[in-house]
Amino acid sequence: MPIQIKRLLLVFAFFIALMLVIRYFLKPDSWGKMGPYRYEALKEIANKEPKYVDLASCEMCHDTIVKIKIEGEHKSINCQTCHGPGYKHINEPDTSNIEKPKGREFCVRCHAKNSARPENIVKQIDAIEHNKGEVCITCHNPHKPWQ
C-alpha cells in the first residue's frame, strides 16, 4: 500500500473517531426512542395549556344563557366562537372578562350575502342595505336570533 493512502486512512480514522466522540456527548437521551427525533419534544409540546375551554365550564355559571342558546338557531355554535378563548375568564372571573362583540361587522362575517356561502347552511343579508346603520343586537338576541 502506498504511503499516501496509509496516511489518508489514518486521517479518515481520526475524524470518524472524533465524530463518534462528539456524537456520544451531544446526542440527547431520548433520541431515537420512537424514531429519528428527540422523544422529549413530544412532552414539551403537550405541556402547553389549552386556552379554549369546554362548554361545561361556561355552563357552571352561565346556565340560563346556555339554556336560551340551545333553543335558538345558534345552538350548534360554541360560546367561544363569538366570545373568544375563556381560560382567563375562568381563572379570574371578576377581573378578566370575555369578548362581547357588538358591531355589525362582527355578525356579517357569517351573515353577509356572498355567493361562496352555502344558502342552506346560514341565513344571509345584504350587509349594507339591511336596516342601514342599526346595530344587529337591537333587533336580534345573539343567543336566540328570532326571539
Binding site: 409540546i45 389549552p50 386556552k51 367561544q80 378563548p85 357569517c110 361562496a116 352555502p118
Partner: protein, 254 residues
C-alpha cells in the same frame, strides 16, 4: 424508426441481469432508513389521525383561523398562519380567482358580481399531516418529525430556522415565527389531544365543517365522513400520503 435488430451475446445478457439484480439488492439495503422519510402506519387499534373538511358546510367565517391564532400564539400580523380560508370564484369566462385577505380574519368581499359567477366556494386549508411528508424529510437537524399517531411536529429547541421545510411543504403550511426565529406549524393542537379535548379550530367551527379523528376507529366521525362522502386530498399526484380529506372539492383547487 425501425427497431434495431442487434444480436446480444449470452455474456451481455448475464452481465445486464447481474446489474439489475445488484441494484435491487442495494435498494433493499436502504430499507432500514425508511423511517427517515415515512412514518409507518401502525397496525391494529393504535391511533392514526385524519382530518376532514366539508366544503358544503363552510361559510367562510374564519373562526377557525382566529381560534388557532389565539390558542397557539401565532403572530397577529398577516402572512403568519397555521390555517387559513381561501375564497374561490370561478367566473363564466372560466377564470379562477382565489382570495384570502389576511387569511379571512377580516371577512370577505364578493369580488365578482353575482351574474358573472359560475361557481364560488370557500376552501379552508391547514397542515395535511402527511404520512410521507416532504417537510420532515428535508430537515437537516431532525427537528421536524412525525409521531406514531401520524402528526407532523416540530421540536422547537432543535430547529435552526433554516427554512428548508417551509420550501419543501407543497401545501404552504409552515412559516418562520418572527419572534422565536424557528419554524412553526399546525400540531393539530397536540397539547389538547393529549388532554382528550378537540383542537381549537374544530371546537369553534359553527357549522361542523371541520372533522377530525382516528382513521383506524371505524366508528369515529372522520371514518364515517370518508365513508359517506366522496373525498379527495390535495395534490394526490405528489404521493405525500396526505390525511386531510375534502368533501365536494372542485378540480380547480390545488
Amino acid at each position: 424508426m425501425a427497431i434495431e435488430n442487434k444480436n446480444f451475446s449470452r455474456r451481455d445478457f448475464f452481465r445486464k441481469s447481474g446489474a439489475v439484480a445488484g441494484s435491487v439488492i442495494f435498494a433493499s439495503l436502504l430499507n432500514p432508513f425508511k423511517k427517515v422519510y415515512a412514518v409507518e402506519e401502525p397496525k391494529g387499534k393504535s391511533k392514526w389521525y385524519g382530518i376532514g373538511i366539508d366544503i358544503e358546510k363552510c361559510i367562510g367565517c374564519a373562526s377557525c383561523v382566529r381560534a388557532c391564532k389565539n390558542e397557539n400564539d401565532v403572530p397577529k400580523e398577516p402572512f403568519f398562519f397555521r390555517n387559513w380560508v381561501e375564497q374561490y370564484v370561478i367566473t363564466n369566462d372560466g377564470d379562477v380567482k382565489v382570495s384570502s385577505p389576511n387569511g379571512g380574519i377580516d371577512g370577505y368581499k364578493q369580488i365578482v358580481p353575482k351574474e358573472d359567477i359560475y361557481k364560488s366556494f370557500f376552501v379552508p386549508k391547514m397542515c395535511n399531516h402527511c404520512s410521507k411528508s416532504p417537510c420532515t424529510q428535508v430537515c437537516p437537524v431532525g427537528a421536524s418529525f412525525e409521531t406514531k399517531e401520524g402528526l407532523a411536529l416540530v421540536d422547537k429547541s432543535y430547529c435552526i430556522g433554516c427554512g428548508y421545510c417551509v420550501q419543501a411543504c407543497p401545501y404552504g403550511c409552515r412559516y418562520i415565527n418572527p419572534k422565536e426565529g424557528v419554524v412553526d406549524k399546525c400540531t393539530l393542537c397536540y397539547h389538547r389531544l393529549q388532554k382528550g379535548i378537540d383542537p381549537a379550530c374544530m371546537t369553534v367551527c359553527p357549522t361542523g365543517a371541520r372533522i377530525f379523528g382516528d382513521l383506524h376507529d371505524k366508528e369515529s366521525s372522520i371514518a364515517k365522513f370518508i365513508k359517506e362522502n366522496n373525498c379527495v386530498v390535495l395534490k394526490p399526484q405528489l404521493n405525500t400520503g396526505a390525511k386531510l380529506f375534502y368533501n365536494a372539492l372542485s378540480q380547480e383547487v390545488h
